[in-house]
């Protein structure tokens, strides 16, 4: 786990630089959620919706939507696959994404269909993750998405 600007990031997952989603892969199944700096920038999650279990989603397509205190918009899939499970607890209590983004606040599980090709677009490894996040934290500050330190 590394910490940048008071936000925590596990290093045993992949990160999608386009969405700030984390992807934890076990076999052909990936659990997906949002990282700590992104959840912080969005404010309290109020409403979360996901596509139906069984639906196919390609990387970059919408797998659901979110309405939060400081963000409204689609949730874009970081990887391609079929949604095999959604987090019912999160649907009932969207703030879990803020309170425990890597644990109880996970979004969906997907059966991966193109991960070998797509993982090149994701960020992994402690050094790479740290370098990327340092640049991202600066960007988030400049855009006012997180408080300037």
């Amino acid at each position: 786990m590394i910490e940048i600007k008071n936000h925590k990031f596990p290093t045993d997952v992949y990160y999608d630089p386009a969405t700030h989603f984390w992807v934890k892969v076990e076999g052909k199944i990936a659990r997906i959620g949002i990282d700590d700096i992104e959840q912080g920038s969005r404010g309290g999650f109020v409403v979360v919706q996901f596509n139906d279990v069984g639906s196919e989603v390609r990387r970059g397509e919408s797998l659901g939507s979110v309405e939060a205190e400081k963000h409204v918009g689609a949730l874009k899939a970081p990887v391609s696959g079929r949604i095999v499970r959604v987090n019912d607890a999160l649907l009932q209590n969207p703030r879990l994404a803020n309170e425990d983004p890597y644990g109880q606040g996970w979004f969906v599980e997907m059966e991966l269909t193109n991960f070998d090709a797509e993982k090149a677009d994701l960020i992994s490894g402690e050094a790479n993750i740290r370098a990327w996040l340092l640049a991202e934290a600066k960007k988030y500050e400049e855009r006012g998405w997180i408080a300037e330190s």
Binding site: G44, V47, S65, K70, A74, R143, A147
Partner: protein, 321 residues
């Protein structure tokens, strides 16, 4: 609901919508300022940095109002005294910001501490050409004069219409007369006034809203901004239910009829989810002129009603109908 009630509701909606059609062109404005990232199927924010809020006091506020407790200040850009307001605005301007909201916490008298910033505000207007809106809180005559002299584009103030709310929610030892006096000072100096009314401010209940509306009616305001009590986590009102849709609907109706020629906007602050969807549809039904961060589907609904949407990336307090 029986058919008689349905007919009465439809009749009132039609009446309010007709008032809009008589007094405005057929456009409806949608806003997505940079306070929130916003991208829906109907409206994609392209330049979230276009309009940015700045807090002169950081997250500090002497009032600690029951519904806010400084939470609203937290996402704003805090002014670093070492940098100064002009330099901050210049830095934002260089990054594509064309307008700023100058806000901040209040002092114990309910005023945002603006006075020492007027020279900087004048420079922001004159040298950078940025649009400057100001959340003022209560003002005295001299502050209103200096706001005008500094050249601000508009002033915003929450108008409270019940002494109980002023005391119990804002913790202020004053009366509604102080709010009306602020409107009078703004008006005297010809400032562009964009008053806000917070519906349900008295712990989710309507109390002074209609009095606030009456006060505002007496002055030549640019527009009226309606926001709705949003129970914020970490405040004393976090478990307070927001005001009912019935109360909101009634207020929209009366506001439209009582201020037929004034643009009425739905501001950023309102409960999310199903409540927001319902409120936004009511806003269209009752002929209001603009909506900030519209719920998905509301743009299409407005088109169905014969309205032409226009999209803006600054505050609804900046826009015109």
């Amino acid at each position: 609901m029986d058919s008689g009630v349905v007919t009465a509701v439809e009749s009132r909606r039609a009446e309010a919508f007709a008032v809009r059609q008589e007094n405005f062109c057929d456009t409806i404005s949608f806003f997505a300022p940079g306070l929130k990232r916003f991208s829906t199927e109907e409206f994609q924010q392209k330049t979230p940095q276009a309009f940015r809020p700045v807090s002169l006091t950081g997250s500090a506020c002497a009032l600690q109002c029951e519904h806010c407790q400084s939470k609203i200040l937290e996402p704003m850009i805090p002014l670093n005294p070492k940098e100064g307001l002009f330099q901050l605005a210049k830095r934002l301007h260089q990054n594509g910001t064309t307008g700023i909201l100058i806000s901040g916490g209040s002092d114990k008298a309910g005023a945002v501490p603006l006075k020492k910033y007027f020279p900087d505000i004048a420079r922001i207007k004159n040298e950078l050409g940025m649009r400057v809106m100001v959340h003022t809180g209560l003002v005295d005559r001299e502050t209103a004069r200096q706001l005008k002299e500094a050249g601000v584009d508009g002033v915003m103030i929450d108008i409270i219409g019940a002494d109980e709310t002023i005391r119990e929610v804002y913790h202020l030892n004053t009366t509604t007369a102080a709010y009306e006096a602020s409107l009078a000072y703004f008006s005297e100096f010809g400032l562009s006034i964009r008053p806000h009314i917070i519906l349900g401010l008295h712990f989710g209940q309507f109390l002074g809203e209609y009095h606030a509306l009456e006060m505002i009616q007496r002055y030549p305001v640019h527009s009226l901004i309606l926001v709705i009590l949003t129970p914020l986590v970490g405040t004393h009102m976090q478990n307070v239910p927001p005001p009912s849709l019935e109360d909101i609907e009634e207020f929209f109706y009366r506001a439209r009829l009582q201020m037929p020629k004034t643009p009425i906007m739905i501001g950023c602050a309102r409960p999310l989810g199903d409540h927001k969807v319902a409120v936004d549809h009511l806003a269209v039904d009752y002929g209001l002129n603009g909506i900030a961060y519209p719920a998905d589907g509301v743009v299409a609904y407005a088109r169905e009603k014969g309205l032409k949407p226009k999209f803006f990336e600054d505050s609804c307090s900046c826009g015109s109908a």
